[in-house]
Every structure is written in C-alpha cells, then in structure tokens.
C-alpha cells in the first residue's frame, strides 16, 4: 500500500510535539508547587503554663493557629448557609483582636465546595496536605462531609463540630477525630415525638421527611416516642424533585391532624404552600433546621410569587411548632444574643443578622473554648482529648455530650412556636435525652451560662 504523503513529516513533528508537551507539563506542575512552601513544624512538646509558644503541631506557629473548613459558598444550598463561615470568622477576629488564644491568632481558611462531595474531597486535601491546617472546623453538610471524614481520620486531623446533625459523626471508635456540634436528629426526633405524644393525644399524626440520613434519623427518633397506631401516613421526598404534590395529597387523604416534617426549609415551604392549595391545614411541627423564621418566611413569599400568588410569610408560619438548641434571636436580653449581635455588627455587618450568623458565631465560640482547654502548645491529639474531657455549655441551652465514648454534641433543646416572624420559647424547660430507644427524656436542671463580659471564654 502506498503511504499517504501527508504522513511523511510525522516523525519529526511528533518529536517536537513530545518535547513541547513535556516542557509545558513540567513547567505547569512545577509552577504550581512554587506557591506551596508552607511547611509547618511538627513534633510535640509538653505544654506548661509558662513555656514559650512553639510550633507544636501542624498549623500551629508561635503566632498563629490555622484551621480550615469546607462550606457551600456558591451553588443551590449557598443562600443562608454561606453566611455561617463569615460569621465564625467574625468571632475569631474578635478573639484575635482581644489577645487571641494564648497569644496566637486564629486564621480561618474556608473553601467553597459548592455542596459537591467530590469538590469537598479535593478542598479538604488541599487544606490538610498543602495548607497543613491544625484542624478542620465546622465542615458543612452530611453528603459533603462524608466524603472527607475517612480521610481526616486516617490523617489524624481533628475534625471538630461538623455542621450537620447526622448521628453518623458520633462513632468514636470508627472516627475518633470527628465531633458533632448541633443536636443530632435522633435526639431531636425523640424530643419532638414526646411533645406530640403528650400534647396531641388521640390525634392522627403523619410524617413528612427527606429521604436521606437527615430525615431517616429524625423519623427514628419520632418512632421511639410516638405510638405507631397513631401514625396514619409516612411520606418522604427527594431533595432533587420539587414536585411534592402527590405526597401532600396523600397526607390530606390520610386525614392526619398533625404533620411532623423533617425537611429542609425549601421543602417545608413547599409543604405549606401545597397544603394551602388543597385547603388542608393540619397542625405543623418541623425540625429545628427550619427555625430561622426569617429564612422560612422569605422562602414562602418567593415560592408563592413564582406560582403567581402573594402570601404573607409570617402569617403562614404562625403556629408552627419546632425546637431550638440555641436561645432564640427574639430574646434580645439574652447575654449570648447581645454578645454575638455586637460582634456581628462590628466584624460582619455586611451579612444579615439571622439564625445562620448566630449559629456561625456560637460554634466558633465552642472552638475557642476547646482550644483554650488544649493548653499553650497543643498537639492535634491534645485537641481531641480536650474535647473528650467535656466542654462547658457556652451559648447552647443544653450541655454537650462529649466524652471519649460520645462525640455527638449538644444533647437537648426547648420547644418553641413561630409567631409574627419570631421564634417564641414554649415553657421554660429544656429537654435532654440520648439516642437510644429506651433513654428517658428529662428536663434539664442545670443553669444556663451567661456570656462572659469580655466576650471570650476563660481557659
């Protein structure tokens, strides 16, 4: 066969191509490495109150503590949640401006993962392998953080106060480095379930829940407390499908007088609007992820507008029953609310003052508490053992569960009702419980702490 003419010059060209590819590839990767020169000191030194500040662990220098996080700053879940990390940073900045933690400033580097688990896996490796963060703090989301948790534990990087109520973070044998923060959904389900069983005796109850760890954990807790004979319907939804009309129709057909929803705010709003459309108005009880009434009202108005209707958000949320593990924003006299509002106005004024901002500051406060407990020159293991030794309650209404065998987080909440766009506490009792079927739900008798006058926890 005659060789086509255009192939004649190939060998020479190929050599050129190969040479060019090699060079550019090498340059490209080498260029990347030049920016990454941060190597931190390692090795541990015994901490004592008078010793000089040393680089006692990765991410810790005599002047700084570098921590990292993955947060949904862009993408579909960003609205609202993107306020959390800036709020945490605002509180760290406040601490830094008032002497820092044993003189060290907290550097908080949070990267956007757009709520995509693959991106999470990548950015968490960037934080740990390249930026050598001391700990990963408040990584947000159940599916996203699950993509990072094994890696962090294999690397023995403290993974503290995950921003998700999944009970999966509380597995100290499997994940010794990982700690939850907020009330987990099983405990919450039990607390809500008991309230229903006591206050709506003999009424028909139905569940509406997100079909993943979040909703299923919640339902598990509800089932521990609510007699199964009174549950007339269980409807679940997939967060990627916004058409929940069939589920709402089924709820209506079941004749349920109370609907308890473990749903995210967007779907709680859809549930409410779809029920309205069918002229169905059961008593609604929702998970605390919805208790930022400001956000929920806004969603109701927006969704109704998209459907060509005009509604009054706060009128629609009136009477919705929920719970909360942090004091409500409406309690302006509460010392924590006053402190965090002040820090917000000082360092984070560009963001709205709402439940997300408040949450971000509260969890940052818990981290500062933990760091103060670790001592002057902590190793990574020191942070884990400090939290295992228990933490003061801080801004939360119930104590932390932390011990070497329990990494869950806040153990209780109070019941609340939405009214005029605010969250109003019901009664004065805070209820605490555990995650087991038989564990009792008890009224918390300890006193809530007051915020320190300086705004910074004492060691």
């Amino acid at each position: 066969m005659k060789r086509p003419q255009h192939f004649m010059s190939r060998p020479r060209r190929l050599r050129w191509q190969a040479a060019a590819i090699m060079t550019v590839a090498a340059l490209a990767v080498a260029a990347c490495s030049s920016s990454s020169s941060s190597s931190s000191g390692s090795g541990s030194s015994p901490s004592s109150s008078s010793s000089a500040l040393t680089a006692s662990a990765p991410g810790i220098t005599p002047t700084q503590i570098t921590i990292g996080s993955h947060q949904p700053l862009t993408g579909p879940v960003a609205p609202g949640y993107s306020e959390i990390a800036p709020a945490s940073k605002a509180y760290f900045d406040y601490v830094n401006a008032h002497g820092g933690v044993y003189g060290r400033k907290i550097v908080y580097k949070y990267l956007d993962d757009a709520y995509n688990p693959t991106t999470t896996a990548s950015v968490v490796r960037e934080l740990v392998l390249q930026d050598s963060v001391y700990a990963v703090f408040n990584g947000l989301g159940t599916p996203t953080h699950l993509a990072a948790v094994s890696f962090l534990n294999a690397q023995k990087v403290p993974d503290v106060f995950v921003a998700s109520g999944c009970a999966c973070w509380n597995q100290p044998t499997l994940y010794p480095e990982t700690f939850g923060y907020q009330l987990d959904y099983v405990r919450e389900g039990k607390i809500l379930g008991q309230y229903l069983a006591q206050h709506f005796k003999g009424k028909k109850i139905a569940y509406f829940y997100q079909n993943d760890e979040f909703g299923q954990d919640g339902v598990k807790g509800l089932n521990y407390e609510i007699p199964s004979s009174t549950v007339v319907s269980k409807q679940s939804y997939d967060p990627t499908n916004i058409n929940i009309a069939p589920q709402v129709a089924a709820l209506r057909a079941s004749g349920a007088q109370v609907v308890v929803a473990f749903s995210v705010p967007a779907f709680t709003a859809l549930l409410k609007l779809n029920s309205l459309k069918l002229g169905y108005s059961p008593t609604l009880m929702v998970s605390d992820v919805n208790n930022d009434v400001f956000t929920l009202d806004g969603l109701l108005v927006t969704f109704a507008k998209q459907g060509g209707a005009k509604v009054n958000g706060s009128l629609l949320t009136d009477g919705i029953i929920t719970d909360s593990y942090l004091p409500t924003l409406a309690e302006t006299s509460n010392s924590w609310i006053a402190l965090f509002k002040m820090v917000h106005d000082q360092n984070d004024a560009k963001e709205p003052w709402d439940g997300n901002a408040y949450y971000g500051e509260a969890v940052a406060y818990a981290f500062v508490q933990a760091m103060l407990k670790t001592g002057r020159n902590p190793t990574r293991a020191d942070l884990v053992s400090a939290i295992n030794g228990g933490l003061p309650q801080g801004p939360a209404v119930a104590p932390f569960s932390f011990s070497s065998s329990d990494h869950a987080g806040i153990t209780g909440a109070f019941m609340a009702v939405m009214k005029n766009g605010d969250l109003i506490q019901q009664g004065s009792s805070v209820l605490t419980t555990d995650t087991s079927a038989s564990g009792p739900i008890t009224t918390y008798t300890g006193t809530e702490q007051q915020a320190p006058a300086s705004g910074i926890p004492s060691p």
């Binding site: 190939r10 190929l14 490495s33 995509n116 960037e126 392998l129 760890e213 990627t240 560009k350």
Partner: protein, 371 residues
C-alpha cells in the same frame, strides 16, 4: 505506519511516566492528589475528544458514564473485595456496554438533538443512585478503602500511590486511543465526521462506526470513573453531576478538540485554575455572596481568554506556534480523510439537493455495485 510509530508512542508514554514519577516524589502530597485528579480527567476527556473531535458526535453524558464505571468499581471493591485492576477492567467493560446501548440511539441523532439526549442521560443517571439507596448508598454513596501496597512501606504517601496508579492507567488509555486513532477505525471516524454520505459511498458502515466511537468513549469514561473512586475513596451521586459532564466537554474543547495532548492541557486547566483563583480571590471587603462567586467568574474569564487566544484549543495554538518554527506540517487531523477522492467530491458537487440520510446512499451504493 502504525508499526513504525507504535514504539514511538510507547517511548513518549515512558517519558511522561518518568516525569510523573519524578514530579510525584518532588512535589507535596496535595500536588500528588491534583496529579491524580488530572489523570482521572485526562482519561475521561481523551474519550470525549475522540468522540466529539474525531467522530463528530457531541456528548453531555460523559459524567454519567463515569458514574457507571465508578459505581461498578465501588460495588466490586466493597462487596467482593476484588483487586482494583480487575474491578477497573470490569468497570470499563460494563461502561462500554452502556455506551453501546446509548450509541445505538445516538447514531440516529444529530447535533443539538444528540446533545439533548446525552444531556438527559447526564442529568438522570446519577439520580438512580439516590433512588436505590439500598444498593448504591443513596446520596452518601459508597465508601471505598484504597491503600498503598504494603511493600512500599507504611510511610509511603497514599496520594503518591494514587498519582502513580491513575497516571499509569491514563497513559495506557492514551496509548491505546492513539493507536486506534491512527488505525482504520480512526480513519473511518474522520471519514464519517467529514461527510457521512461520502463515507457511506466508500463502504463505511456509518451507524456501526458512530456506535463504536460511543463505545470507546464510554469505556474511557468508565476507566475515569473507576479512577475517581479510588482517588476520592467515594462513589456518590454528587460526584457525577451534569456540571462534571460540562466541565469535561469544556476541557476537550479548550485543550483542542480531537487531539489527545489537548486532553492533557484541558484537564490541567479545569483542575488547576479553580484552585488558583480561589487562592487569589480570598477577597476582603466584599459580602460573602459576592466574594464567593469571584472564583467562578474568574474561571469563566480564563476560559473565554483561552478560546480567544487559541480558537483551535490549546493544542491547536501550540501546533501553530511550532509551525512558525518548523514550517507547515499537515497532520492527520487536517488531512483530508482517505475516502474523499476528487471523484467523490465531484459526485457530491453535482447534486443541488441537501445530502440524503446516510442509509439511503449506502443502499444505493450497494445496488450500483451489484447491478
């Protein structure tokens, strides 16, 4: 030709492998991880660039094929504890089979209709994992344990091992694809891409050729999916969204459609640029909603600039620069496909009617042959 150039291609592969090995030792663990990410994308983009650049079929479903490969690997590793290499082969085979099914439908569709059909695949398929949480672990996905072999020592960094494995697999994939592109199969793809009617007249089975391109492309995606699973230790629906498919197509176009080195340039770009701009744009004085979107916007600007400077993609631009030094050199991409003989051109030029569907001229051609 092929015989002569196969050692050459192997030589190039060995040199690249040596560079990867050198860099993986020299650079830090995170760069190793990024190398592994690049290698994953190279495998997927190489398949796509062959499909779109050589056989002329656009696909927005490459991410979905990666999901098939990824979940196949994860299931085999988790439930049957297979060695990775065996799981990889099965993943490629399963995905190739899926590619054949999609290819049969795709062979009948053109342009935007094909893009639409594959878009549907890219959107719908990852949701299957959420629909059957019992098998696929729902939104949380399946966790996979992948460790470096014992003989490398306990302190050997896992990310370096991941970089080695992914780069090795990606290189083998590239060599095989290169062989295919220079072979009769590759010539048929280009013939069909340039003119289906003429290709059919020359006895090329247009439908089979197009389907084969889909099979090859899907197999590459399956390999990439398998690699992604061992890199991130996770197979989850969130990893295979439509965003991934679009990013892969972006990489293929930016790198230089239809060129295998272009797959490398494109992959480097989509992996490295977002990290860079995030580092640059830790901007202060902006509200979180504005500041957070700056990296996304900067990424877009980079893409636009590359397309303005290199309309033929990065590889096309590099080739043009080389041509400035070495004089014009025609490549197999620029070259007219073998079948386009003057007589065939004349034949087409005579008719004023728009070209018929490929099947019709093919049958006419056969009739003419037999009569």
């Amino acid at each position: 030709m092929t015989v002569q150039s196969l050692p050459r291609r192997l030589g190039v592969a060995v040199v690249v492998a040596a560079i990867v090995a050198f860099l993986s030792v020299k650079l830090n663990s995170f760069r190793d991880y990024q190398m592994a990410e690049v290698a994953v994308d190279v495998a997927a983009v190489a398949g796509l660039t062959v499909l779109t650049g050589l056989s002329g079929q656009i696909s927005l479903g490459q991410g979905a094929f990666m999901a098939i490969g990824g979940y196949t690997t994860a299931l085999l590793l988790v439930h049957l504890s297979w060695p990775f290499i065996a799981a990889l082969v099965v993943a490629a085979a399963v995905t190739a089979a899926a590619g054949a099914i999609v290819g049969v439908a795709a062979a009948r569709l053109r342009g935007p209709y094909l893009a639409g059909a594959t878009l549907m695949l890219g959107v719908a398929l990852p949701a299957v994992a959420s629909a059957y949480p019992g098998i696929f672990g729902g939104d949380q996905g399946l966790n996979v344990v992948f460790t470096a072999p014992v003989f490398l020592g306990a302190t050997f960094p896992l990310t370096r091992w991941q970089a080695w494995v992914t780069a090795a697999v990606a290189l083998v994939t590239l060599v095989l694809l290169a062989n295919l592109c220079y072979s009769r199969v590759g010539r048929n793809w280009r013939a069909v891409r340039d003119d289906e009617v003429a290709a059919a007249l020359d006895g090329v089975n247009v439908a089979a050729t197009r389907i084969l391109a889909f099979v090859v492309s899907a197999a590459c995606a399956g390999i990439a999916g398998a690699l992604l699973v061992i890199v991130t230790s996770l197979a989850a629906p969130g990893a295979f969204t439509i965003t991934l498919s679009i990013a892969l197509l972006t990489a293929a176009v930016i790198g230089g459609l239809g060129t295998l080195p272009g797959a490398l340039w494109g992959s480097l770009l989509i992996v490295l640029v977002p990290t860079y701009v995030t580092d640059v744009a830790t901007s202060h004085g902006l509200s979180s909603s504005t500041g957070a979107n700056i990296p996304v916007a900067a990424y877009g600007v980079v893409l636009i600039l590359v397309m303005l400077v290199f309309p033929q993609g990065i590889q096309g631009g590099l080739r043009r620069l080389l041509t400035a030094f070495t004089g014009p050199a025609r490549t197999w991409r620029d070259a007219p496909a073998p079948h386009v003989t003057p007589s065939a051109d004349d034949l087409l030029a005579r008719g004023d009617d728009p070209p018929d569907p490929p099947e019709k001229p093919a049958s006419q051609h056969e009739k003419e042959g037999t009569s």
